[in-house]
């Protein structure tokens, strides 16, 4: 099957969750995002890769309404994206644990802001403590944890919500390989289990190919979509599988900016 056919098959009959049309973002005169248009399908796992500083984070910030767009629309379920209406979660690139809350209270934070019933808050918190292996550290404070443990707290806080849309901005950059592989698998498991839509931003090509159903490659600033690559490999995927390597090399070629 050619790439063209693969792409056509992939897009056929999918329900659009997030639609981005003509998205443009300028900081004064600096054009960061240039006329980007694409759809994210319901329940899709989409990875965006691109060189550092190409505007990946800016895109996420527009989507989550942290910064206004210069032009263009971002619609979620046909309505302008808005965190107060849409069920979103966001794992930031920076460590975003809340320093005055204990590990368990950090995990409860999102659930409480979303006004989930108390028994659900407790149940989800327990599940997440188990999942990220921080049960023993539940009453610790972020300052007492290592960077990777902090990132696990943040991941737990976001997974706990069973969000509709999960936005992840290079979430595993700080973690060691073992933990990264483990949490990548956990992410896949949770995604398959709750069927949320995941938008995962990374500059790690291998990670993108391992996780995604579809990879969008962004070019240098101002960012445009250079290429779309469908990853139709069965899971669990194997880094050494020739088919995997082929796609990885293809993405590497597409992203090559040097």
């Amino acid at each position: 099957m050619t790439n063209q056919q693969l792409s056509e098959n992939y897009h056929r009959g999918k329900e659009v969750k997030v639609s981005v049309t003509d998205l443009t973002k300028k900081y004064d005169d600096l054009l960061v995002l240039n006329d980007i248009s694409f759809n994210i399908y319901k329940g899709e796992f989409l990875c965006i890769v691109g060189p550092t500083g190409c505007g990946k984070t800016t895109f996420l910030n527009c989507l989550s309404r942290f910064i206004p767009t210069t032009r263009g629309d971002i619609l979620v379920d046909g309505q302008p994206a808005d965190p107060t209406h849409h069920d979103m979660a966001f794992v930031f690139q920076e460590v975003s644990t809340i320093p005055w809350l204990s590990v368990e209270d950090n995990i409860r934070f999102g659930l409480k802001v979303k006004r989930r019933p108390p028994d659900e808050v407790e149940r989800r918190t327990e599940q997440m403590l188990e999942l990220v292996g921080l049960k023993k550290f539940r009453s610790y404070f972020p300052r007492q944890l290592s960077a990777s443990m902090e990132q696990r707290v943040v991941i737990a806080r976001n997974f706990a919500l069973n969000p509709d849309i999960l936005l992840m901005d290079e979430p595993y950059g700080q973690l060691d390989l073992k933990l990264r592989y483990y949490l990548e698998d956990e992410l896949i498991r949770i995604w398959q289990e709750i069927g949320c839509t995941v938008l995962f931003i990374t500059h790690n090509i291998e990670e993108a190919v391992y996780l995604a159903q579809r990879v969008l490659v962004l070019g240098q600033k101002p960012a445009t979509i250079k290429e779309e690559i469908i990853v139709d490999l069965p899971r669990p995927r194997n880094f050494a599988d020739p088919a995997f390597v082929k796609i990885r090399d293809h993405v590497t070629d597409a992203i090559r900016w040097w």
Binding site: P83, T84, A89, I98, W100, G110, V113, F141, Q144
Partner: protein, 273 residues
Amino acid sequence: MSTAHASALEAPATSRVKGYWKEYNSSVFSLLVFLLIWELVCRLGFISRFQLVPPSEVIVVMIEKFWTAPPDGATLFTHIAASMTLALVGFCAAVVVGVPLGLLMGWYKPVMVLVRPLFDAVRPIPPIAWIPLAILWLGIGIEAKAFIIWLAAFVPCVINSYIGIKLTNPVLIRVARIYGASNWETFIKIGVPSAVPMIFTGLKLSLNAAWTTLVAAELLAASEGLGYMIQMGRRLARPDIIIVGMLTIGFTGALMSYVLTKIESRIASSRRL
């Protein structure tokens, strides 16, 4: 490297204690020399009794003042109680108004735009310059004095709360926003807790300002209070009374700061900050 390592191993705890004792002894020594010179200067008649009395007499007067009212009309405890009441009323009122105002100014732009010019206009005026106006408006009772202390304590409360909330980590604000928290909820759940350490610094500065202004405020007609006590000492030409008053002001102020610091470290340790 290796020598530093070895000396660290060989230096037992006792040598550190010894060093501490040495320092402590030198401090005590210099203090004793100072008191001795003071005592001698007075005893040898270099200076009039109406200007300075020897430290030995100051100590006696201080002890006596615990239960005798004359010559300034009240015992030391009455003075302390009067001054502390005044300072705490002014301080608490300043905290109640100043901290929320500073926090709101830091979070809500319109509040900032409304309040800032007025605040900046009032800030450089020394609180004691308000005394004449305070008397015209509020008379010479406790209200006028508390008002002066309130003014002095108010400024650091506002400034530190403002800075504290401005320093909120923007990522944490975004964490709350992405979960759909309203601006007010983000303010309460993220902004205010993250400003707590700065607020406490403000409270300490504010208490300090309140206590410093106390003496000036008690220059207004008063019948008790530590400021009044030293004022009476001047009128009666009793330097012993003045010095006892001054020392008590120092001790009491230090004690209040200490209590506030204790409360702060309690809160900080419960938050592991």
